[in-house]
Each structure stands twice: as structure tokens, then as C-alpha cells.
Amino acid sequence: MKKEETVKLISAEGFEFVIDKKAAMVSHTIRNMLTSPGGFAETQLGEVTFPEISTPILEKICQYFYWSLQYTRTALHGCQPPIFLLPTAHGCIYAVDPIEDSCGPKNRACL
């Protein structure tokens, strides 16, 4: 992957997740962050730090991004995409909200 097409998400513990920019842009907030005019630190360095989000949660979030990218189009055609699993033990459910800014797609938690 080319450097320009990627962005680095850093968790509270310092884990670095390098993902496609396209995937990261699924989140409106990250999208605004990266496209805002003026020289915010994030845009310049190409990396976003989340000091309040733990590593496993951030990992799940990155998986969600890819899942969303892959199956949004399928959903538009009316097919049912595979269910995205959110393990409750991690308290993951709560993490979806601030990044998405909305009550994202209906995820059914399964054990």
C-alpha cells in the first residue's frame, strides 16, 4: 500500500493500525479531520491518536470500516450482508457511537 493512501490510527496503549484512507473515511469525523482546511496536526502527519480508545476496541473499529466498505454496496442491492460480530465482553457496543456520530447500522450482537 502506498503511503499516501493510508492513515495511521493509534490507540490509547500506543498500538498503531495502518489502514486504507478509504476505510477510515467511513467515519464522518475522521473524514472531516483529514479534509479540514488549515494545518491540523493530523492532516500533516497522516496519523490520528485516540488516547481514550483501547486497542481491542480500535481493532474492532478498523474491522468495521472494512466490513462497511465491502458490504455497503451489496446492501444497496437488497442482499443481506453477513452479520458483523461485536463481542459484548469487550464492551464494544459503546464504542461504535462517537466515531459514527449516529446510530450506525443495526448490529445484532451475538454471543
Binding site: P37, G38, F40
Partner: protein
């Protein structure tokens, strides 16, 4: 855990772990306030978006949204006031540039601020009915900068001054203007309209009012229109470059009003260069420009149309009343055709083939053609001239073109029945003398008349053609039959005319020479043998003859003469000298005709086969005539004075007119009876209107004549007057 399985999970907002700190809100706000300052000071590079976003998010979540919002308003306002000061301080030309630059900066800052305060914008703002951040930023800019009393007037004055300079020929920075007007539009269309557009339109109105006054004093019509067009295009171009598109209609209507609408009358009536001069001189470009400009203003086109109509009527009236013109009918009609052509061309090139102008042209022609009551006669003479010689050698399409043009004039005639009468006369003369240039052209004309006026109009004319054809067949039959003997008798060519179809002329007496009589009787016998129950009358005033004559030195000539002339000449076979009286007695030709006939034989240079004593031009009772032995001519065949269709003399004119009037009476009566039969009861005025409508394709009936006809019908018991109401009439079955 298993109990939780069945529950639907509620998605709640993520709560960061925060300390319970009484000063929490204040601290967080301070961070954000500092960030806003840095943004306005172009120092944003060090800031972390994520941190700021998180802080704003937390404030809203913990119910400090109001503090955040009002803090934002205060901070932004403070910054804007500072910016206002720096703009006010700018000198002269730099004022607009400074304003433009600061506006760009503000927009950028606004976007950054909105991005980090996104959460508030989406949750707190709508639920508390606050103005969203972006809109808030625009409103604050508007209130603190644009409407600051020092900047407001200065801005407007600068803009108007630049526009004025550009109008007087200077070059200005259009890009900068564009940005400024776009800024005003972004702030709201009411800002644009109130702070710029309305004063702009007022100033433009007074500018153009002054300029148009100046131009009209010193320019002629064509130049003025050029200038007006130029200004109009300029304004439209100005709008496209740096004003809002919606202003185009408004500014163009200002220019149209000031430069065109206010001066319309003066332009059109301008001496030496106004509309009439343009029409006369075929100034297509100027006329086209006038049309396009005047089209934009109310009453513009009707002004042009009215002036054109009155000009046409004047010119036409002069044309038809000018005694000089009336001498030559063919020329008269040609001039009418030329006038129509000229104006058709003007309408198609300059006036965009506008139908209303076509109609104005038609109504004007209709008006003045009918001012002269000889128009039908003259038009018929024109066609006669064309069909005799004018269309010689012309292609079929061109023939159609000429005839179509004549038909156009024919349509304008109100007295079409007069035309019919004359056309019949002229056609008869053409057919009988064999002088028509092309049979196809004749037929084409008949077809056109039929299309225009219906079968009735042309049935008699077609009858004339049929007679000619039938006569040819009859002649062939005659010569093939036993009745004709080959011998040295004269060869006879007879045309048998059906009385109803041909223009009636009373047949005058005429003593034919014996040789002729013989062969004529033979024909009569033949004809009556095949067609019983018919009566034949020789029309000696319409015939022609070819005579072989031998003159003094033995030179032989073949003379083509009329029947009357032939009778006179044959007398000289048995006498050398004859007096007028003797000739009159012998031939029994009526005096007027005889005089004309002798004149053409004796008094016309180059055609004088007879010699007259005395050598005067007029024929007197005691003149004597001699066979002119000394007659010479270059040609073997000499044609002597065939009667050409001329325009009628006064008495002839009266006679024709009277006949037309007589013919009209039964037509009017027939119309009245038709109407009353279907309506049963009708009042006087309605009858008059109905009759006029029914007959208008042929002629315009005189209401007095209609009244007389009604009275005549009452006498003859076709109608009766109502006993109660004198104005009402009743049909009697």
C-alpha cells in the same frame, strides 16, 4: 448473561472517563477558545483535531452546550471587530482587496471551526433551535463587517464607482469585483439586493438617462440605435463576468427603459434618419437593429408598425392618385408590384418575417388599392400585357412567380367582379386574335383564379377556351365535308362562340363582300346541319382577314386587317376613288367604327394602303379615299392596326361600370332571399351585415343599393314588412 441475550441492546453515547471537576467546563472551554484564536491567527498547524473534537464533544455531552455556543459567538465577534478595524484602515484601492482577503480567511477559519464543533452542530444546535455554525459565521460577518457603518457606505460607493469607471471606458479588476459580489450573494440574497443591487439599478438608471439624452441630441437614429445596442450588450457582459445572474433581467430592463422606451417616438420620427427614411432607403441593418431593440420594450413593435402602416398608406395613396401614373396601366401595376416586393423583402430580412407586420402591409395595400376604382381594370390590363408579350421566352417557374404576384394584388381588390368583367374582355380579344404568348400560362392563370374565387368565377372563362377548341374541330369537320369545295374561293376560319361565355357586344351590321358571303353561307349550312336548334350570328366587329394586294410597281404584299378593313379594301377592287359617304353606304359599318377603321388604313405612317384627301388626321364626312399605289413596305406581310386592348375611354368606362352595377343587383337579391329563407325574420341592419359578409369575396355592396333591392323584393312579394316593427322583415314562402 443469558438473560441479556433476549434484550435489544441500546446504543448509547460513548462516555469518556472524565474527572468530576467543578471547573471542568471552564477548562475545556479555555482550550477551545485558545484554538479558535490560533485558527484566526493562522496558527492552526500545531493543533490536534482529535483533541479539540473530543473536548467539544465532551462539553456538549455534559450539558455545557450553551456555554460552548455562546463562547463561540463572543470569540468570533471579537475577532471580526478586529478585522473590521483593519479593513477600515485600508487606503483607497486597497480597501476592496483587504476586504476580499479577510473574507477568504474568515471562510477558511469558519470551516475549520465547524469541523471541530461538528458534534455540537449536529446535536445541540437543532434541538435548541440555534443557528448552525456556518450560518452563524456568515451572519456575524454580515453584522460586524458589511453592516458596520464605516464599511457599509464605503463598500457600496467603491463598487458603484468602479462600475461607473468601467462604463466610461476604464479597465477594472473584474476578478476582484466577482469575489465581492459573490460574497454578498453568500451572505444572503437580501444582502445582495439591499446593499448592492437596488442602489446599482438606481445609479444605472440615472446614468443611462443622462447618456441617452446626450446621444439623442447629437446622433441620428441609426447611430443612436447602434450605441444603445452596444450599451445593452455591455451590461449583459458585465453581469456574466461579475454580477449575479438574476441581475441580468433587471439591468437590461433599466437600459431598455432609459435608452429605448423613453425615446421611442422621437427616434422613429427623427428627420432624415427615422423609420420612414430607413424604409425608403432599404436600410436593412438599421431596420433589423431597430426591430430587435424595440421588441424588448412594451409598445415598441406596435410603434414601428403604426408608423410603417401610415407611411405605406400615404405612399400608396399618392401612387394611385397620381395622374401621371394612371396613363400607363401596365406601369402602374408594375409599380404596385415593386412596392410590394420591396416591403416584403424588408419584412423578411429586417423584421424577422413577423406576421403582424405582414398583416399591416396587407391591410395598407388593401386600403389604397381600392382608393382607385380603376385598379381592377388596370390589373387585368397588366396580366393581358404579360400574356401577350411580357412572358415571351420566360421559363415556366418564372411565369408562375409573376402570376402569383399578380394574384396577391388581386386578393386586395374589393371589387373582384369588375376585374372579372375586364378579364373576360381582354381574354376574348387575346383568344380571337390568337395573340397569347403561351396557352399554359393562360391556363395557369385560370387555375389560380379558380383556387382563389371558386368554380363560379372561372366557369365562363373556361367556356371560352372550350369554344376555341371546339371551333378547331368544327373547322376540320367542315373542310372534310361535302360542303366545302376546293376552288379559288377564300379560306374561312370560323370560331363559334357560345353567347353566355363571351363578353356580349351588340353585333353591328356589315355588308360582307360577295366572295365572303358565299363561303359563309356554306359554313352556316354545314353547322346547322350538325347542330339543330341553334342560331348563328356573324360578329363582324371581331374578325380578321389576310388579303393579298398588288401595288403600283407590281410588289405584292399580304395585309393582315380586321374584317371591317377588309370590307372597305375590297370595295377598291371595283373603284379607284371612293368618298366617305359611299363607303359608309356600301358597307353599312357604324360610323364610329368606320372612322377608326379608315384612320388606321389611311393615316398611319408606314401602313397607309389608302390615300386620303385632304391629308388631315381626322375623318370628315366629305373626305375622299384612293387606293395608294405608291405604298411600300420592307415586309411582305404587313399588319394593319389590330385592335389592342387599351384602357377604356370615358364613355366605355361608364358603360362597363353600369353593366357591373346591373349584374350586382340580382346577386344581392339572391343573397337576401337566401338569408331570409333560412332566418325567416330579420331586422334591417342584420340583413345588411349578412349580405355584405356573403358577397365580400366578390365585391363590397352599397347599403343603399341593398335597401333598394329589399324594397324591390317586397314589391314582388318575396318579403313583407312586419306590421308592428317597421325595421323587421319577414320571408314569404
Amino acid at each position: 448473561m443469558s438473560a441479556q441475550k433476549k434484550r435489544n441492546f441500546k446504543i448509547e453515547a460513548f462516555k469518556h472517563r472524565v474527572e468530576v471537576d467543578p471547573k471542568y467546563a471552564e477548562k475545556t472551554w479555555k482550550i477551545l477558545e485558545h484554538a479558535i484564536h490560533e485558527i484566526y491567527n493562522h496558527n492552526a498547524s500545531g493543533l490536534s483535531f482529535e483533541e479539540l473534537y473530543r473536548n467539544a464533544y465532551n462539553m456538549v455531552l455534559h450539558k455545557y452546550g450553551e456555554k460552548l455556543y455562546s463562547g463561540l459567538v463572543t470569540t468570533m465577534t471579537w475577532h471580526l471587530k478586529e478585522i473590521a478595524k483593519s479593513i477600515e484602515a485600508a487606503q483607497g484601492g486597497l480597501f476592496l482587496e483587504e476586504l476580499n482577503r479577510k473574507w477568504g480567511d474568515h471562510n477558511k477559519a469558519l470551516q475549520m471551526i465547524r469541523d471541530i464543533l461538528m458534534y455540537m452542530d449536529r446535536t445541540f444546535v437543532p434541538s435548541n433551535r440555534k443557528t448552525p455554525v456556518h450560518e452563524l459565521g456568515l451572519n456575524l460577518w454580515r453584522d460586524n463587517i458589511i453592516h458596520s457603518h464605516k464599511i457599509q457606505t464605503r463598500l457600496l460607493d467603491t463598487l458603484l464607482d468602479l462600475i461607473h469607471r468601467e462604463r466610461t471606458g476604464e479597465v477594472i479588476n473584474r476578478g476582484l469585483m466577482r469575489n465581492i459580489t459573490k460574497m454578498l450573494m453568500d451572505l444572503g440574497s437580501s444582502v445582495y439586493q439591499e446593499d448592492f443591487e437596488r442602489p446599482f439599478l438606481e445609479v444605472s438608471a440615472s446614468f443611462y438617462s443622462g447618456e441617452s439624452q446626450q446621444f439623442i441630441e447629437c446622433c441620428d437614429c441609426g447611430d443612436y440605435l447602434k450605441k444603445a445596442e452596444r450599451r445593452l450588450n455591455e451590461e449583459m457582459e458585465r453581469v456574466s463576468h461579475y454580477l449575479d445572474a438574476k441581475s441580468e433581467a433587471k439591468i437590461t430592463s433599466v437600459v431598455e427603459k432609459e435608452m429605448i422606451a423613453n425615446h421611442m417616438q422621437r427616434l422613429v420620427h427623427m428627420e432624415n434618419s427615422g423609420l420612414v427614411n430607413m424604409l425608403v432607403d432599404d436600410k436593412y441593418e438599421d431596420l433589423s437593429r431597430m426591430y430587435n431593440l424595440f421588441r424588448r420594450v412594451p409598445e415598441g413593435l406596435s410603434t414601428i408598425r403604426d408608423v410603417m402602416t401610415s407611411h405605406l398608406r400615404e405612399t400608396g395613396k399618392q401612387l394611385v392618385s397620381d395622374p401621371e401614373r394612371l396613363r400607363d396601366p401596365v406601369d402602374f401595376v408594375q409599380r404596385l408590384l415593386d412596392m410590394k416586393d420591396k416591403h416584403d423583402k424588408i419584412i423578411s430580412i429586417a423584421f424577422n418575417n413577423d406576421k403582424t407586420f405582414q398583416n399591416a402591409l396587407n391591410s395598407s395595400f388593401e386600403y389604397f388599392i381600392n382608393l382607385n376604382n380603376r385598379s381592377p381594370e388596370f390589373i387585368s390590363l397588366y396580366v393581358d400585357d404579360k400574356l401577350r408579350k411580357g412572358l415571351k421566352g420566360v421559363t415556366e417557374e418564372d411565369v408562375e412567380v409573376v402570376l402569383d404576384k399578380v394574384m396577391m394584388l388581386f386578393r386586395y381588390l374589393q371589387e373582384k367582379d369588375v376585374f372579372e368583367k375586364y378579364y373576360k374582355q381582354h381574354l376574348a380579344k387575346r383568344l380571337l386574335s390568337g395573340k397569347t404568348v403561351s396557352d399554359d400560362a393562360e391556363r395557369s392563370m385560370i387555375v389560380k383564379l379558380k383556387t382563389e374565387c371558386g368554380y363560379q368565377f372561372t366557369s365562363k372563362l373556361e367556356g371560352m377556351f372550350t369554344d376555341m377548341r371546339t371551333s378547331q374541330d368544327t373547322m376540320q369537320g367542315f373542310y372534310a365535308s361535302q360542303y366545302s369545295e376546293t376552288g379559288d374561293g377564300p379560306t374561312l376560319a370560323v370560331q363559334v362562340l357560345t353567347t353566355g361565355s363571351w363578353p356580349t357586344q351588340p353585333s353591328a351590321p356589315c355588308n360582307l363582300p360577295a366572295e365572303i358571303l358565299g363561303v359563309c353561307e356554306k359554313f352556316r349550312a354545314y353547322y346547322l346541319g350538325t347542330h339543330t336548334g341553334r342560331r348563328l350570328t356573324w360578329q363582324t366587329n371581331m374578325g380578321t382577314a389576310d388579303i393579298k394586294a398588288t401595288f403600283g410597281k407590281g410588289q405584292k404584299h399580304e395585309l393582315n386587317v380586321s374584317t371591317y378593313q377588309m370590307c372597305v379594301l375590297m370595295l377598291f377592287n371595283s373603284a379607284d376613288r371612293l368618298s366617305y359617304k359611299e363607303i359608309e353606304q356600301a358597307t353599312e359599318i357604324p360610323a364610329a367604327d368606320l372612322k377608326r377603321c379608315l384612320q388606321s388604313l389611311a393615316c398611319v405612317k408606314g401602313k397607309n394602303v389608302l390615300r386620303k384627301e385632304p391629308m388631315s388626321k381626322d375623318i370628315a364626312e366629305d373626305d375622299a379615299f384612293y387606293f395608294n399605289d405608291k405604298f411600300t413596305s420592307k415586309f411582305i406581310k404587313v399588319k394593319i392596326g389590330t385592335v389592342v386592348a387599351q384602357k377604356e375611354s370615358e364613355p366605355e368606362k361608364h358603360e362597363t361600370r353600369q353593366r357591373v352595377e346591373e349584374d350586382r343587383k340580382p346577386q344581392i337579391e339572391a343573397a337576401i332571399v337566401r338569408i331570409m329563407k333560412s332566418r325567416r325574420v330579420l331586422d334591417h341592419n342584420s340583413i345588411v351585415t349578412e349580405v355584405t359578409t356573403q358577397l365580400q369575396s366578390r365585391f363590397l355592396p352599397n347599403p343603399v343599393v341593398i335597401k333598394k333591392r329589399i324594397e324591390s323584393l317586397i314589391e314582388r312579394e318575396f318579403l313583407e314588412r312586419d306590421k308592428a316593427d317597421r325595421k323587421l322583415y319577414r320571408y314569404l314562402a
